[in-house]
Amino acid sequence: MTVSVVQFGGSNCDRDAVSALSHLGIDAERVWHEDGLPEDTTGVMLPGGFSYGDYLRAGAMAAQSPIMSDVYEAAERGVPVLGVCNGAQVGCESGLTDGAFTTNESARFQCENVFLRVENADTPWTAAYDDGEVIEVPIAHGEGRFEISGERYEALEAGEKVLFRYCDADGNVTDAANPNGSTGNVAGILGERASVAVLMPHPERATLDDVGGTDGAGILRGFD
């Protein structure tokens, strides 16, 4: 009963993910990408960071790492998979989820707290929340603008695959509350299965009560 937090070269939120999961009583360990996924893994987290320095395109190189075919197979078997920040970019690049995360509208890195509105509380990642609930979680990215074609965006919406949208403190989804210019203020989405999700905000940074609040803990409980 152990969640694998995949460490690519350049991952930098792998330790944080293990700390946050452990704090919630969820057993987790770092797995070096070249060692492959343990067969009995009960979940996979793709953590934040700058895999391969993001020198090519965020997440593009890590998506080609052999461990990603293990992750893909695990996802097919229904093993929960969560990609956060750089992990979300890897998730999109490797086809676990649709769309892409690209350069922020500001063209700068942004580290700040944002508000998220829960769009679909009927998933493992949002079961701890109510539909329409507003949570406060930090972002830290330079390439977090969600991009997707119109047709596929409609399919995401129709399939209720949008997990979170950026909003203001009162839950209004506005341009002013969109930190990076994401299509439809989308901050996180599901893959084919509800057990696979990616999001740009960092739930592990909003889990320990001595730093940054605990609003993100519910997301990590998707591994429980």
């Binding site: 070269g9 330790r15 070096w32 500001s106 700068r108 890195f109 580290c111 830290a140 940054g212």
Partner: protein, 702 residues
Amino acid sequence: MSLSDADHELVVAELGREPTTAEAALFENLWSEHCAYRSSRPLLSAFDSESPDVVVGPGDDAAVVAVSDDTYVTLGIESHNHPSYVDPYDGAATGVGGIVRDTLSMGAYPIALADSLYFGDFSEEHSRYLFEGVVEGIADYGNAIGVPTVTGSVDFHSDYEGNPLVNVACVGLLPAERLVTAEAQNAENKLVLVGNGTGRDGLGGASFASEDLAEDAETEDRPAVQVGDPYTEKLLIEANEDLVDAGLVQSARDLGAAGLGGASSELVAKGGFGAEIDLDAVHQREPNMNAMEILLAESQERMCYEVRPEDVEAVEEIAEKYDLGCSVIGEVAEGNYVCTFDGEVAVDVPAEYLADGAPMNDLDAVDPDQPERDLPRVDLSEAFEAVVGSPTTASKRWVYRQYDHEVGLRTAVKPGDDAAVMAIREAEKGLAFSSGANPKWTSAAPYDGARAVALENAINLAAKGATPLAAVDCLNGGNPEKPEVYGGFKGIVDGLADMCRDLSTPVVGGNVSLYNDSVTGPIPPTPTLAVVGTKDGYDAPPAAFSGEGTLLLVGTGGGALGGSEYLAHAGGSDKFPELPKNPAEVVAELAAVANDETTLAVHDVSHGGLAVSLAEMVTENAGADVTVDGALSLFDETPGRAVVETTDPERVRETFDGAAPVLELGEATDDGTLSLSVGEEQLVYTAEEIRVMRDVIARELD
């Protein structure tokens, strides 16, 4: 630049022969101001560097201080001034890389960075170009390696026009048993170089850092600037963790100024050894490099480890895991520091003479004059708006928003406050961290200004409930061969040293950067101090008003405006304010007040005076009604003071009884408006109006 005639004579006398080309280049760089502190070391004895908490003091890659019996922190600071002028992005980025490797070589994991940055006037296009490039360079490097940048400072002053300053401090964390030093342990141990291949980048960086910036430096000195590779640095951090975890490291030194020659000779010299090094064995990424280039290239992301012969294979395996280059370049040896290249001896010199033999400079110093009082009359609201809206005192959110300040899950108090507080759960302590200087203060009065800088940093910690544990300094000055420049430099050294002694805060390490001089003249003497302090737990009162308490000003005003933001705006002159005579007591009492449950908010008073402190405390939901006697009280910048919002004013008075005066300023309110009665005049600003004033940097640059 080449080895001076005087140094050349000394070297010939020591060696008994002419130095080889490689030897001459090694001496030139290792005996440069940057590496050998020739003009500053005679002054540095002013610092007290000892306390019961100090585990490793000055002279290693970073200092080590005990937070508890079994938990240590490292503390180091570095300047990357000249490179950041020539190439702001790479110059600043590699400054971060260097100080992080200094942390690694002590066996620590880096947990926090602070950047203190100094540029010419914000209105100048060139200053903005440097500012944007430096911040982006720090952000891209620090963010990628996963070390949060949690605090720092940004100042603008016209005398940095031709020579900006980039001072970077790093804190690392280690369990006591993991401590590694840069002192070679045993002859016959292998020297192993891990990290990037060596190329021709950063050649002669140490000597470039040790002369005035030439007018054509942006084009001519580009080869002396290194280019950073944060991905490799991150791999090096992970590899270093594995190496130290496995107990494979006997000693370590990062490759910084003067490259492999500097790191390897200093490491063996510190242990009283020499070395035998085969330069052909160094893994390289450019063809046909000669001995001097291999020795002195400042290619980044490289570490030199002393490893027992039987551990070499294990080290190679870890380097291989992280795709890092690794070469066994030689061994620690009795006798001289010897390097062979292409079958010939390229270097054969006593290691200690190379590392520590540079003669010290005895330079003339002239003390600067203290100005007289000549205060102009200025419209009060105009002055308030100018001071609160000055880029130096304004919000730095535009800067720290670009820094990942939360990675690592330790940042309990974030940037934008007086000090950051990092959660050291291993010892159940909060580690407060503050870094900065104030060039207006030290330009007006180098000695007292530097004392004020030290006190202000200590008060920043106290405002979050911590008391100082240790400090490191980055002493930046102009060309020391000019007596008035050296006089100012001597002033900041003595000032920092005296105030740190008064605060019982050991100065455990530092960095000196001289020759910050260009066609636009010398920089103001700039004593960046980075201080860490500890407290029980990680909670701290906010700097923002809660809206529910009484407002008190604690501490003694110095009754003068010399060096203030107000005078910078209004013109005129004044002497520098007098500082409290019992600073340690004030710091301790303020920390006690900050930790009291009846305290709702605390914010220090310094840059921009009470005007800026109050403006920074106002939020949309909380304001203040405040009465002060006149403009002097509003703009006096004397540090050692703080605004306290409390539900129990009597308790604060009791705490400060006999230590410092406590003045009631008024009440906090719940309407988000700052109402000031200043003598006969009234000033009223809404939170939104203040936000707009304070938002000048983002408004201009986004």
